[in-house]
Symmetry: C2
Subunit: 465 residues, 2 copies
């Protein structure tokens, strides 16, 4: 590492930004500065003060993350593969099916993320790759992952991503055939019901796409059955019949308008700012698929507009439940109630990237009324729909719920942060939890423990990515 | 990226090595060259031809991977944290427990890898971090991951790793307290039965360690219960009582000698080579914990010595099962038999890193004999214990099994490759599968399908990491 790295490291300290892969030199480039300027326009459009502490470095963070996340434009997949082809004797003759080749080689469950070309939001990808070697030649296994990443780190659509990975590997390895299956998950847009919404995974738009070359060109070839069987051992259950349908329509929820939509026409200044970001990333904003992207991204952002807290808080205060005592102490006539898995979506103010998850609320009350749940869901949504950090979100929900329900409240927020996967950190499996406790819950560990034991384990239920 | 990166990219093509984080400049540094020279000594000590195709670039790959994997020596955790402290009002007063602080903040399931200081093999870590903010200050969530990584990327022992992460975060954030739990998995040494071998995960040595500061200093504090409860929601089941015991003894299996050990005294030249690697990484080989490391690493490597194939193959051929026809065609009197989950451990010849997993073998025979299973396990072990690539391993097992069992054989190898997680690629969840088919299995898709359906899904069983 030596001198170069020390300097880079000092830079990081100075700027408080990430020590990301390959971002040496990003900082002072005109493209980065242009994106920073555009992000400032967007923040101001949201009614934010761009000089407040949490936002001061946001434009630079966003610019670096976007450039890091689209660095695939500058990489050549074919060369990556050709630098790691290894001769393996015996792969053309004795052992084999599929035209004399040496049997399938599969890399399973590669976690990738990409950016949706239709709305500029990141989407997550589980990638399955197989190929049948030929010509006494295999490729280093990690190169399959590298190549997939080159194409993921561009503005993408699931089917094109699968096709590009497949054909780049085919050209590079010259095998008997390549198969690619992608399971993609895209965050939904509030108030829009897209046609591909997965009913089991609230709020996720799913696409399952595949691409095949050579012996995999025919979707009904036996070798596809071998591939799918080899995926199944690790719980990757891809049904061959499901692989047929999501090719036609665009999956991005931004493409579907909604009657419930209230935001109106997005500001020209913000749309122009996003267009300039596309140009800075090296894209052509006139490309057909990008025509609506600036508008879509601004529409998404406007969900997180800075709203007048006071007005809304008064609204919540008026809605106080009558049967609850205002400063009630927990007596023997009060019981613990819980509202679990209230879903939310928010936007990280440090990186302008979504974070999302569920909120669990516990409180003591004399009785429960059916309106409480919807009130609590409103509070959760209200505090989610702004530029946030999870710690503040948790505290704000607790304080507001407390004014509604009396003083004994506990709030747990469980979330996945896109910024933990999309900026060189790539901690795909990680999640965060925060807790705020008021009244009895802060003084009585047993009450806290009782509430915490009530929270279901999603590993056995199926929420989250 | 610009010119700098293009140049770097071209370099990659030339050398066929990885486009890793921060390795710009590694290549020509004297430390890298010294490690390359040491790796050549090790390869020759294994009886390998360092000029054969698969090994030509191995010394450079190993050198870069080791330097990348120990880059934490040059990073300062405190600075990383302090560059991302954000003011959050309300965290010292209204909401809170634990001395008026704002409630726990937890980041769960961070996947890390580190290098065992006792044997130089990588070990895998699931890292759970919690802290209780204080002083109206929170830290960017990704910094918890960054700091953990700084200490993971050094030669480590689980308990010290936990302590270093904990105290660095405490110093950097100045919170009410920090808690760290690490679940570490270390590959076992063949022929050695270490005391911490996990009976559920064949061949893994496990260590569960924790470290706490401030409000977490007392292991029996209520806040530990909160922390453990918040982990449980995501299926992280850490039993408080289990957190007590693994502190005393060294966990590394290299520390335990075995009566079954056959390798004898490792060569001085190889031991000296590993010592020089430690020096090149910036370590002091005289440090107490490193005293036995060169010997341990060489002992590990010697398991993968290049053996005389012909001798051993003759051994297998003599062991042919009598009831099986030599060139038997599958008739109505033959049935399909399977041997599933034969475990193996091998060493990737491209990166000199372990890969490990299970082999499934299917064959047609007239009857099954009890010795077949042990013979097949011997074949699997024999071909595993050398420098390998998975594709070749699969083919060699298939060919040898075929000479033993008749011509109708299918072999599936499922493996996890350390090189997929430990060189900037960090695809923690990924796994690979390869298949070789002979005779009937290559011509009859139905036979293949029948065999593949028999392979159990480890997701519901619990093998692998």
């Amino acid at each position: 590492m030596g001198a170069l790295d020390e300097e880079h490291f000092n830079k990081e300290i100075e700027n408080g930004v990430e020590l990301d892969c390959l971002d040496l030199g990003f900082e002072d480039q005109p493209e980065t500065v242009a994106i920073e300027d555009a992000v400032k326009v967007l923040l101001q459009g949201l009614g934010e003060d761009i000089n407040r502490e949490g936002l001061k470095k946001t434009p630079l963070r966003v610019a670096k993350a976007l450039r890091e996340g689209t660095k695939g434009y500058k990489q050549k997949a074919k060369d990556i593969v050709q630098s790691a082809l290894f001769p393996e004797v015996g792969l053309d003759d004795a052992v084999g099916h599929a035209g004399g080749a040496g049997g399938l080689v599969i890399v399973r469950d590669l976690d990738l993320f990409s950016y949706c070309e239709s709305c500029l939001l990141p989407f997550q990808v589980k990638c399955q790759i197989g190929y049948v070697p030929s010509g006494q030649r295999v490729v280093g296994l990690s190169k399959l992952s590298r190549v997939a990443d080159v194409f993921a780190k561009r503005l993408q659509d699931p089917q094109r991503l699968a096709d590009e990975i497949c054909s780049a590997l085919h050209l590079g390895i010259k095998p008997a055939g390549v198969a690619v299956i992608l399971q993609c998950s895209h965050i939904h847009f509030p108030n829009i019901e897209p046609p591909f919404l997965d009913s089991n995974r609230q709020g996720w738009v799913k696409a399952l796409v595949h691409s095949g070359s050579g012996v995999f060109e025919n979707d009904f070839a036996d070798v596809w059955d071998d591939f799918l069987s080899l995926l199944k051992f690790r719980g990757v259950n891809v049904d061959k019949t499901l692989m047929k349908d999501s090719k036609q329509q665009c999956w991005c929820p931004s493409q579907y308008s909604s009657s419930a939509e209230v935001t109106g026409q997005p500001s020209t200044g913000m749309v122009t700012a996003v267009t300039s970001i596309l140009i800075s990333l090296g894209e052509n904003p006139l490309r057909k698929e990008l025509a609506g992207t600036p508008t879509h991204f601004v529409k998404w952002l406007m969900n997180f507009q800075n709203a007048n807290l006071e007005t809304k808080l008064n609204g919540f205060a008026c809605a106080r439940m009558d049967p609850l005592k205002q400063n009630g102490e927990a007596g023997h006539d009060k019981r613990m109630y819980t509202e679990l898995n209230l879903s939310f979506c928010s936007q990280c103010e440090h990186h302008l990237l979504p974070f999302y998850g569920v909120v669990h609320i516990g409180y003591y009350a004399e009785e429960i009324t059916p309106v409480i749940k919807s009130r609590l869901q409103s509070i959760v949504r209200f505090y989610g729909f702004k530029l946030q950090v999870q710690e503040r979100l948790t505290r704000q929900i607790a304080e507001t719920a407390s004014s509604l329900l009396g003083g004994d409240v506990v709030v747990v927020v469980e979330a996945n942060h896109t910024c933990m996967i999309s900026r060189g950190i790539e901690k795909f499996g990680s999640s965060t939890a925060t807790i705020a406790v008021l009244g009895l819950f802060s003084t009585d560990p047993a009450a806290r423990a009782k509430f915490l034991q009530n929270i279901p384990n999603p590993a056995s239920g199926g929420s989250g990515f």
